[in-house]
Amino acid sequence: MLALFTQPIDAARMIAVPKIDWLAIGPPVVLFTAALAIVLLASLLRGRSLQHDLDDWVVLCAFAGPIEFWLGRFSAIRYNHDVFSIIVMLAGIGSVAFAMGVSIVRKHTFAASLVIALAGVISAVAITVAQWNVVRTSGSFTSMAGAVAVDGMAVFVMGVVLVATVFGLLLGTSWIRREQLEGPEFLALLLLCATGMLVMASANDLIVVFVALEVFSIALYVMTAFDRHRIESQEAGLKYFLLGAFSSAIFLYGVALTYGATGSTNLVTIRESLTGLVGGDNGLLMVGFALMLVGLGFKVAAAPFHMWTPDVYQGAPTPVTAFMAGATKVAAFGALLRIFVGSFDLLQTDWRPAVYGLAIVSMIVGSVAAIVQTDVKRMLAYSSIAHAGYVLIGVQVATESNGGLGGTSAALFYLGIYMLMAVGAFAVIQVVGRARETDSSLDDYKGLARKEPVLAGLLTLFLLAQAGVPLTAGFVAKLTVFKAAVDAGQFQIALIGMLSATVAAFVYLRIVLSMYSGDEHGSATPVEGNRLTVDLPVRITISLTAALVLLFGVVPGWLLDVAEHATSILAG
């Protein structure tokens, strides 16, 4: 049987075996493998144990173990395999294995799944770090027959998505335990979703972009509808699904037309073929642009393709909303940058005004519509539309030649910071929402400051950061974007942006006011049992995001530096 494959045949019929570049496709492969492992584990252990039992120490081991291992690994490479590094590595492996072993022996399926998931995601982070080093030292490259690009932007986007995935896993864990839902499935879906986003970040071929887009979208549809206790969740799932499929189809038609116009779907090839096309017959390409912009505009929640956002953000389980806000936007913006800035920069006079318009409409619609809302999740959904508008400012000046690729790095920086602010805010909202997520209206936040001063304070921090108050990361993010616009001489859009930020400040202020204004009849002292439960995974998430929001607000230099070096887009 094997001989069938090994038997030499006619040399002319031999096909050159593609070489698998494991470094280039490492992160998605690792995540996908982890997802499969979870599914397998869930299948094998099904029916024997269904506990949601999860000890805090397991979470700690699952979280710290892989980090320890990879720190040890990097230090081992650096210091020539000294004993200390090896010990750290072994300790990391040990704690993961121990947590895994105990979970399986005690038949805690969910705990074991979480260990696998966290190990996978953190390992993927480590691989992106390695990729970053390669890109920084020896430049960008493509692999897998040109379908995968490893460049600064891809690695940056992957990093942000992976960090968001870690937070999503932690928030999801807490939520699954609270709502008593199917844990392993949720974690596997989250990993599949992240896989799609990673592929999208480094996709160098329009078809790979489409497939990646579908992979993460389909997983997101299911995750949105995952909460079977809440009809809102299923409704949001249906809406997201129908509209998402619609916009994907539009995007795909755009791809088809672009393929017809340029003769290729590979972004590098397309760019090369453009030089002959510029000034020629470009009808197909223009329609293709419009349709691709619709598809991607839908995913980043830019107005006027935003209408699903409030409904879906509100209806989806809060950890999913957090992940959606943090990761989907980044991945979709990554594709937007890669396609339009990287590949079609020669035709920027055609698409830039369109993106400019989207940015303005998004900023205005997002901030104005948020004013009249009474549901906190919905308010933040609208504000996420406005944030998409700010990023679009960066995108549309990304091709400006003066000031380097200022727009790209501004957009990437903004996305990274927005991920932290959004995840942090939604983490608090998840806790305040209580079981079945019943408490998310403004009234439910009344008197929160008195009952839970720390939570209220942290939510205030995240909201102030989103409003762009100085010394928080949000301020620096807005500053970079507006500066990119001003550098490019686009004073008007920066003005509109600032006006929109001023309006949006009211929205955040309403939430803060609500928390700090006392409920007249509410008791001043927290009633025991009425307190909110903040378990370890949420604690880790909130404190990490809060610390980073403050850190990047005071010393943003490091991340700015990274974002600046992340501007290399292969096709461009």
């Binding site: 389909i218 549809y221 249906l238 699904f241 499929a245 619609f246 795909l252 038609y253 393929y259």
Partner: protein
Amino acid sequence: MTPLLGAVKITTEYYLAVGALMFTIGAVGLLIRRNTLIMFMCVELMLNAVNLTFVAFAKRLNDAHGQAIVFFTLVVAAAEVAVGLAIIVAIFRRRQGVTADDVDLLKG
């Protein structure tokens, strides 16, 4: 005797036109039909219109890539079918109906 339509040569443009027409029918169908399942079928129609377009372009460009892409689109569409039907079934079980306009708990 010459056939009635013998003078017309079917070029790729015709396929492209049919594709565009199918796509439009799908899009309009999604906008005007209220039954979730039919809306869903309209999306499938749009995807298949794109498939036709891809194949037509592949023929015109004399490039096999366009045909290979159709495989991917098909698979993606199948996965979408599965997930979409699951969500629709779940909603149906709860509401005893598949009218899209009734699903408007979240709004404003």
